[in-house]
């Protein structure tokens, strides 16, 4: 995370240096572009953040649970249990009528948070396994991951804005003498870096997201004192192998398991370690079984089914 902020400051500084002559005697006293892009990105993200929960919930078709249905009552009971175990307030509860087993948590803080579960998850999993999933979502709320991911998207947005300016500024000022006065040895690598920076920012954001998933799994095990429940839930969801149709690339990182289910998501190493929002599901299962004290050799599951 700290590295992320440094990266942002570096790109901002490079733009300021190249186009506004900042850090030299003739330029402005402070880095204009850095501050301005950060302000713009903050404004954009905060709008999404405060109006966000409602928009996300309606975009995936979430509804209030129906307390006449035994499964929904059981879900409410499990959420109450996990709220007690984590010592936080009871979150709002929503269900999505969809056969794909998945869940997510949103909300600005502990007192104003939401947990949303698909009905497919409720039918697929037994009580202990559902408890594991809810504990995982509760951990995201307690660890303030929603806040963290908001901060990350501010930085990603800010870098995108900077890179955009950088590219346009390059074409419009080529004839001018602004760049000419600086050493090409310095500005050519800087320009390249600015052009590639949105890609780097995405990769960094996904790395942060994956780390938080591991952390939420570990915290869930601490709440339930039962890592086996969550591990079995992940196994069942992996074997069900259904994609959640209503998720988009923008909301994918919120979910319990990656709802898009690309082939890449189940692989370990190489590109998969750079370009996915969630850690490989088999690795999560293995780590949970290790917490439960069951040797790794026992848990080599069946060959993973993948879906396009």
């Amino acid at each position: 995370m700290g590295f992320f902020i440094l990266f942002f400051l570096f790109i901002g500084g490079a733009i300021d240096y190249l186009y506004f002559d900042a850090f030299t005697r003739v330029g402005p006293a402070f880095p204009v572009a850095t501050i301005f892009s950060l302000g713009m990105a903050t404004l954009m993200t905060l709008t999404a953040y405060y109006g966000g929960s409602g928009i996300i919930l309606s975009s995936v078709g979430a509804e209030k649970p129906d307390m006449q249905i035994p499964e929904h009552r059981e879900l409410r009971n499990i959420v109450t249990e996990m709220a007690l175990a984590s010592g936080s307030a009871m979150p709002q509860l929503y269900v999505i009528y969809d056969p794909a087993p998945n869940a997510f948590a949103t909300g600005t803080n502990e007192k104003n948070s939401t947990i949303c579960v698909t009905t497919g998850l409720l039918t697929l999993l037994d009580r202990e396994e559902t408890q594991g999933v809810i504990a995982h979502e509760m951990s995201h709320i307690r660890n303030e991951d929603v806040l963290l991911m908001t901060l990350v998207s501010i930085l990603v947005g800010g870098i995108a804005i900077l890179a955009d300016w950088g590219q346009r500024g390059f074409y419009s000022s080529r004839s001018g003498r602004r760049l000419g006065s600086k050493s090409p040895l310095l500005f050519i690598p800087l320009l390249l870096l600015i052009a590639l920076s949105p890609l780097f920012a995405q990769i960094l954001a996904m790395a942060v997201s994956r780390q938080r998933e591991y952390l939420a799994d570990a915290t869930a095990a601490q709440y339930t004192r039962n890592p086996g429940g969550l591990a079995r839930a992940l196994e069942k969801i992996r074997d069900a192998g259904m994609a959640f149709q209503k998720a988009t690339r923008g909301t994918a990182h919120l979910f319990f398991v990656n709802p898009l289910r690309r082939r890449l998501d189940d692989q370990d190493g190489g590109l998969a370690n750079l370009l996915t929002t969630h850690p490989p599901i088999n690795r999560r299962i293995m780590l949970l079984y290790q917490m439960a004290g069951i040797p790794q050799s026992v848990v080599q599951g069946p060959k993973v089914q993948t879906f396009k």
């Binding site: 035994p70 009552r73 059981e74 009971n77 499990i78 109450t80 249990e81 996990m82 007690l84 175990a85 984590s86 010592g87 009580r127 709440y223 004192r225």
Partner: protein
Amino acid sequence: MIFVIWAIVFVLGIWIISTYNTLTALRLRVQNAWRQIDVQLKRRYDLIPNLVETVKGYMQYEQDTLQKVIDARSKAMAATGVKESAEAQAALTQSLGKVFALMENYPELKASKNVLDLQEELTTTENQIAFARQYYNDLVTQYNTKQQVFPSNMLAGFFKFQPSEFFSVPEAETAVPKVNLTLTR
């Protein structure tokens, strides 16, 4: 020189205030967590008569066991003092576990929607009691650790913060309830 002394006094003052506030906040959270357990226990008292009423008709041969649950409930409600009430609660948990285990023998019980609903309610109450206690113990660990580690232990001693007591599970509760299936009378 005088500036350095003022700076030290200032930093020390900030540290004292923040440590004192952390300890006080933890103490309040511990007390609140303890009350949470009571709320769950109360819920269990309310649910038990319902359960007994519902299953009484089916479980003709287990009147003894059911009576034990009723007795354990009234004993737990009347108990005073931490140790006595912990023991009474443990006995109640055990007798309830016995009823649940015996219910497996009655297929017609499993078919009744009412009974299933009640069973879910009681299961979640049992879980909630367990999780509330677990959270209470987690908080007590935090609170006691803060009081004993350096340097906050100096302040805890000066302001007379007392370590809180853990909720320890009595022996009887950790044992799996034994079910006698021979039905000898």
